[in-house]
């Protein structure tokens, strides 16, 4: 662990909104070659419980090169603050994740990626699948929001009066299907569709007493219950005991499980593919074509 910490290298790479700042933890030279790079989008890296820092070092000791970086407008990265909106289909930082992947392809010759996102960064990881051209093998969607509005909790996070009024009017207009049903966020809806169309594996993981877990229950009932066998094998759902899925809550069981899942899928995918040659400056890397010819399914 200490050796991995000492081997870390700060990096700056171009992002869509300006330079993005991160830290690379190189895979331990004496570890088995996994051929996979784990990307942690973070907002920002400087967290009190800094689990991404620790997991990056643990995974690097196991042979995974890791990059943790600040999403735009957070930590050291350029750009203005934005935490993503549940009402929009983009803006959670998926483009930044892709920029990070390109940086690792260009400068380190990495070709296969696993993206690990927690809370809103889970949406960044999922959003990246929508833009990716086949470089992502798996994502960890840890404790992310999925609905278009927060579910009411006792004492706080109730829908605004405007929202309540809108629902009441829609109900009076005889559109109960809209007023009585909580919609998925546009971002989650479109990115989940892309995930279904891809070959990317995913682990959706929550703590059982987490506020976002209540949101995810809706997705479990309405989305995951309808998946075919192939999708069920690719998209795993796990609920672990604990009060909160957030990194800052320091619930280690969730993150330990996520890390072991990364090891599992790496092992399951067999021997690593040869690393791609470094991209020449300005040249395009040969990536699998986008699978966006046919429309994404609308299971939501």
């Amino acid at each position: 662990m200490l050796a991995r910490a000492r081997a870390e290298q700060p990096v700056i790479f171009p992002g869509p909104s300006g330079p993005l700042y991160g830290i690379i933890t190189p895979a331990a030279p004496d570890s088995p070659v996994t051929g996979r790079c784990v990307v942690f989008p973070g907002r920002p890296r400087f967290r009190s419980r800094r689990l991404p820092v620790l997991w990056a070092r643990i995974l690097a000791a196991d042979g995974f090169t890791c990059l943790r970086f600040d999403i735009r407008g957070h930590g050291e990265s350029a750009g203005s603050f934005g935490s993503g909106s549940r009402k929009k289909s983009t803006g959670f930082g998926g483009e930044d994740v892709i920029a990070a992947i390109h940086h690792m392809q260009d400068t380190r010759g990495e070709s296969r990626f696993i993206v690990f996102g927690n809370c809103y960064d889970a949406n960044a990881a999922l959003e990246a699948v929508k833009i990716d051209r086949g470089a992502i093998d798996g994502i960890v969607f840890a404790g992310g929001p999925v609905l278009s509005e927060k579910l009411g909790l006792p004492g706080f996070e109730q829908p605004s009066w405007t929202e309540k009024g809108r629902k009441a009017i829609l109900s009076l207009l005889g559109r109960p299907g809209i007023s009585n049903r909580t919609d998925f966020s546009k971002n989650f809806e479109s990115a989940f569709g892309a995930l279904l169309q891809s070959r990317v594996r995913a682990l959706f993981i929550y703590c059982d007493d987490d506020r976002f877990r209540r949101e995810f229950k809706v997705a479990e009932d309405r989305l995951f219950a309808k998946l075919d066998n192939d999708a069920r094998q690719r998209l795993q759902v796990e609920i672990v005991p604990g009060p909160s899925s957030a990194i800052d809550s320091g619930e280690p069981r969730l993150f330990e499980r996520a890390v072991s899942w990364i090891r599992e899928i790496s092992d399951a995918d067999g021997p690593p593919r040869p690393k791609s040659k470094l991209r020449k400056h300005g040249a395009q890397v040969a990536l699998a074509p986008r699978r966006r010819n046919k429309p994404w399914p609308r299971p939501l």
Partner: protein, 274 residues
């Protein structure tokens, strides 16, 4: 907020521990402004320091920000950290920043609990030109109790029955060696080593310029800061206090640490006058 070529990031050593630091070089190499933060309650505090460093560098002041041990990208185990370790990290950061920048004087910026650490470093050094306090913690004992009370408020707000009283939490900390607060874990080793840290005590012999920035969204300086200001001025220190002013972002619900520009601008003017 562009990063630019004047920024350099590296790891430096503090008692065998690798610490992450960022140097923002500018026209004026001395004094170097060093940001000191720890036990961050909000991950936006580091953002405020990054924005602050860049704006000060753009104004001509060389600045240095770092992650102390067991924080951010630095090495170290949180369970082992003591207050003395954090002071040692601040001292190591000062040595590194001075050597790297060529500065012979330091302006410290203490953010929240980092103010206590920086004040202790100031007490042990003779090269401090000025001290800026960003929403400083006044004393560790009351601060830890306040954070425990926040846990109770949080549980109550969620409609839960509070799991422990503050006294029970303190007992739990003594017995178990650790307690989970809202944004970080407090360890007995750290709590016991820091419990007597107090800003006024550490600044007993400090009579230089002080810049006090309140990031809370209040129209007046809070009572604790009024008292601190008076106490420091009675000892001969020159204290300039500024308040955070709402902008479009904070009105939209974004926390003040994401909008430090105005306070940094005022701090820049304060530095220019020195």
């Amino acid at each position: 907020m562009p990063g630019n070529l004047t920024e350099s990031r590296q790891f430096f050593d503090s008692g065998g521990i690798s610490l992450y630091g960022v140097m923002h070089r500018a026209v004026r190499s001395s004094p170097v402004v060093i940001f000191c933060n720890c036990l961050s309650e909000s991950h936006a505090e580091w953002r405020a320091e990054v924005v602050g460093s860049r704006l000060l560098a753009a104004r001509g002041h060389t600045a240095f920000a770092y992650h102390p041990r067991a924080h951010g990208d630095s090495a170290g185990n949180a369970a082992d950290v003591t207050f003395e370790d954090l002071v040692s990290d601040a001292m190591a950061a000062a040595e590194f920043a001075r050597a790297a920048s060529g500065a012979d004087r330091i302006v410290w910026v203490g953010t929240r609990f980092g103010a206590l650490v920086a004040a202790e470093a100031i007490r042990r050094r003779s090269d401090t030109a000025a001290f800026a306090l960003w929403e400083p913690v006044i004393g560790a004992r009351e601060y830890f109790r306040q954070l425990m009370r926040h846990v109770l408020y949080y549980e109550t707000a969620r409609g839960l029955r509070p799991s422990m009283t503050v006294e029970r939490m303190e007992e739990h900390l003594k017995r178990e060696g650790k307690i989970a607060l809202l944004m970080f874990d407090l360890y007995r080793v750290f709590s016991e080593s820091a419990i007597d840290a107090a800003l006024e005590a550490s600044l007993q012999n400090w009579h230089g310029p002080i810049f006090l920035a309140q990031f809370q969204r209040h129209s007046r300086l809070s009572r604790k800061y009024v008292e601190l200001k008076s106490a420091l001025e009675r000892r001969g220190a020159q204290v300039e206090a500024v308040l955070f002013k709402d902008d479009a972002r904070t009105q939209a619900g974004i926390e003040p640490w994401y909008s430090p520009e105005r306070i940094v601008h005022q701090m820049g003017e304060w530095l220019d006058r020195m």
